[in-house]
């Protein structure tokens, strides 16, 4: 998807018809839109989102999302069905060109609280033909190009994306990878096959053609499956709530960081919280290692008495000369059987001399016994050695555990202090934000508890279902129809199992590819010895190389909001890069093409520290096939202006000029860009934003 043009016609603060053409050439792929805070940047981003997805697509921070028609128009309206807001977007995807038009009248807005809109989509095909579609059909096509749950990967507020780099978002990250890279088809196919309309129907066929006992088992299976599906639904909702909560927290944190009174403490809190997560993870790993060690070698600690007894037995046997035996009974048996001594003397059976040799059997040793004592000796040595090693390892791990617990407790105390310090600030906004934060934190704990309990219940029910399904499969069907129905059901289940495995494997392969991309892009923008990895469980992890006892070692670092913002941005850029070359990555899916996606970034430089600001600005043109950057003067001036101003890749540049009856004290009237003065504020009785192209 490459954006060509956006037309805003009476969309919120954008009065009248205004259009903007985006830079869309390979070598000129960056569009910069300069807008001061409150002048309409977020509204602009939302114009694109509303165009593509309607009211469901709007960002959460947009005030009064149900008001699309400009307030002035609403107040002066005489014919609500004639007052209309429209967004038109022209874009290219693959070899087709699209123009969508979404509109809403004041009458519709009032009746549906902004939910109902009219949508038309015109598609111009490679052969020059144009087709048109409306409503749901048009929406399905848009969703197939960029699913709505992935919209925030393309259209985002840079200051709100840091949550993607949090552990809570692993599920979201995994879904994004599957969604943007075509694997949702497998996911959807599994769901379709397992639906009541497919598998349910096959089960009905079997029930009709089977005996009462199997029928009862099938009934039980259905009940259990329904319960599992319900619980899985609750689990998904719980996880998505966690993800939404992480997003909310990230917005609250950003506001605290933006507040002069709270900034320093909040930054310290962000670092400490990140450290806390790292330490808690380290503690979990350590406890697992300790548990594994106790399970495997813990018994050795209780074997000292046994070892002593074993040792005294072998010692006694040695003292008695029974081990090692000088002569083996096998050897004497061979002599007696052959009736000949090794010296050649004849040993006739039952003769005096034969009996004398036979008597030696009581003194000779048994080879099995000899071997067994040898093994016992060896085992005693191994266990004895292991006792010390186990004791040392346990002592070391317990020591590390105590140390970690102590550090966690220090961090917690520190966090409590920060909380108290923030609470005692004489600032109403800080108080409000802190109260919200506390509420969300409690909710987070509830959600974590709920997740754990649901996961456990699902695990138990699934084990029960597995044995029930196996029992059903072993039931022999008598009639032809019953046999056929059972085979179809069985094959369907095998197909689902295969698809699940394929999904798993292809997700892993994509994760590996994405991991390489993440590393590659991050290396370009990282000025220090940082390293960014995508872990096996789809978590983004920042580490740094530090000197260790045997050279440099990578250690995880606690991340700040700004660093997480960079990590998330790198992840999105990597995903977009991978989507672009999707057809080069091996897959079982047929005809999967690569796809271009733009990055539309509102305030991407907001929370970035100096270490990343210039590097990100420098690499904006290379982050995606197309980049649209909405930026305020304060974020633009300095490093960003230097890097982007020097880039030959900026193809279009606009300013948002704000009209209002009076100017805010801290707002500027004009800004200087590239040595030219640009008016950004005008006194006007009607409040609105105007888009102006600049050179």
């Amino acid at each position: 998807m490459i954006l060509k043009k956006l037309v805003l016609d009476n969309f919120r603060q954008y009065l009248g018809r205004q259009e903007i053409v985006f830079a869309s050439q390979k070598q000129k792929n960056v569009t910069i839109i300069h807008g001061e805070n409150g002048f309409g940047k977020t509204c602009f981003l939302n114009a694109l989102l509303w165009g593509f997805y309607g009211s469901d697509g709007l960002t959460k921070d947009l005030p009064k999302p149900e008001h699309i028609i400009p307030d002035t128009v609403r107040e002066q309206s005489t014919d609500p069905s004639a007052d209309i807001s429209t967004i038109e977007i022209s874009f290219k995807h693959g070899d087709r060109e699209f123009t969508l038009a979404r509109s809403i009248s004041l009458a519709q807005e009032r009746a549906s609280k902004g939910q109902n809109t009219d949508l038309n989509l015109a598609i111009r095909h490679l052969d020059g033909q144009t087709t048109n579609c409306d409503g749901r059909e048009a929406q399905k096509i848009i969703d197939s190009i960029l699913p709505r749950d992935l919209r925030e990967l393309v259209f985002f507020n840079g200051e709100r994306i840091d949550h993607l780099a949090m552990e809570d978002s692993a599920e979201k990250v995994r879904d994004s990878v599957r969604g943007l890279l075509g694997l949702k088809l497998i996911d959807q196919s599994i769901a379709d096959l397992m639906s009541n309309n497919v598998r349910g129907k096959l089960k009905e066929d079997l029930k009709k053609n089977t005996d009462a006992e199997t029928s009862q088992l099938l009934e039980k299976q259905t009940t259990l499956e329904t319960a599992i599906t319900e619980k899985k639904g609750l689990l998904t909702a719980c996880r998505s709530n966690q993800s939404a909560l992480a997003e909310k927290m990230s917005a609250i944190n950003a506001k605290l960081e933006a507040n002069r009174e709270a900034r320093e403490l909040q930054q310290r809190r962000a670092t400490r919280e990140s450290e806390l997560t790292e330490r808690q993870k380290a503690l979990q790993d350590l406890e697992k290692r300790l548990g594994d060690l106790l399970a495997a070698d813990g018994y050795t600690l209780f074997c000292s008495d046994l070892i002593q007894r074993g040792k005294s037995i072998t010692h006694k046997l040695r003292a008695e000369g029974r081990i090692p035996a000088r002569v083996m009974n096998d050897f004497i048996h061979d002599l007696l059987k052959a009736e000949t001594c090794i010296c050649g003397t004849c040993l006739p059976k039952d003769s005096e001399i034969w009996k004398m040799v036979e008597e030696q059997l009581t003194k000779a040793g048994d080879p099995e016994f000899n071997r067994a004592v040898g093994d016992l000796d060896k085992a005693i040595g191994v266990i004895e050695g292991s006792i010390n090693r186990t004791r040392e390892s346990i002592t070391r791990l317990v020591g590390e555990r105590t140390d970690l617990i102590e550090r966690i407790s220090h961090i917690r105390e520190d966090l409590e202090e920060i909380k108290e310090a923030l609470g005692s600030k004489d600032d109403e906004e800080v108080h409000k934000l802190e109260a919200q934060r506390e509420k969300e934190e409690l909710r987070r704990h509830d959600l974590l508890r709920e997740e754990g309990s649901l996961a456990k219940e699902i695990e138990t029910s699934e084990a029960e279902l597995k044995s029930l399904s196996a029992e059903i499969q072993t039931k022999q069907q008598k009639g032809e129809e019953g046999k056929k129905a059972q085979r179809r059901l069985q094959r369907l289940e095998e197909t689902v199992a295969l698809l699940e495995e394929i999904l798993q494997i292809e997700s892993e392969d994509l994760r590996n590819e994405l991991g390489k991309e993440v590393e590659r892009i991050f290396r370009k923008i990282s000025l220090h010895d940082y390293r960014l990895d995508l872990t096996d469980d789809f978590t983004l992890r920042l580490s740094k190389s530090v000197p260790g006892s045997s050279g440099l070692v990578q250690v995880d670092v606690a991340t700040s909001t700004g660093q997480r913002q960079v990590m998330s941005l790198v992840f999105i850029a990597s995903l977009v890069a991978l989507a672009q070359r999707r057809n080069e990555i091996p897959t079982i899916l047929k005809d999967l093409h690569g796809g271009d996606y733009p990055l539309v970034m509102d305030s991407p430089f907001g929370q970035l520290g100096d270490e990343f600001r210039a590097a990100i600005a420098k690499h904006v043109p290379a982050l995606a096939p197309q980049a649209i950057v909405l930026v305020s003067t304060s974020q633009y001036k300095g490093d960003v202006e230097h890097e982007l101003g020097e880039s030959s890749r900026v193809g279009k540049r606009y300013i948002l000029r704000y009209h209002a009856p009076s100017k805010r004290d801290d707002a500027k009237e004009s800004i200087s860009l590239g040595g030219k003065r640009n008016i950004i504020f005008k006194v006007d009785p009607t409040e609105h934003t105007q888009i102006m192209e600049i050179d």
Binding site: E137, K140, I141, S144, L185, I186, Q188, S189, D192, L193, S195, N197, V198, K201, L202, K484, R487, R488, R491, L492, E494, T495, L498, L499, E501, I502, I505, E506, D509, N583, E584, I585, P586, T587, I588, L589, K590, D591
Partner: protein, 58 residues
């Protein structure tokens, strides 16, 4: 399945180990037609799937 010149994906190896009837089902589900079907309504998709299964397993 995938007809590109790219190296054989691990998933394809797995696919080849499955029973022929299962392979046929997966193949039918993963065709371009099936991808296109996601734009149509779900009832049609369910019917097509049931038909695939009933036709390929007699």
């Amino acid at each position: 399945m995938s007809e590109t010149t790219s190296p054989q994906p691990r998933s394809l190896k797995l696919f080849k180990q499955a029973a022929p009837e299962v392979q046929l089902l997966v193949k039918n589900i993963m065709t371009k037609e099936r991808q296109e079907q996601h734009k149509k309504n779900r009832t049609e998709i369910y019917q097509t799937l049931l038909q695939f299964i009933k036709e390929s397993i007699q």
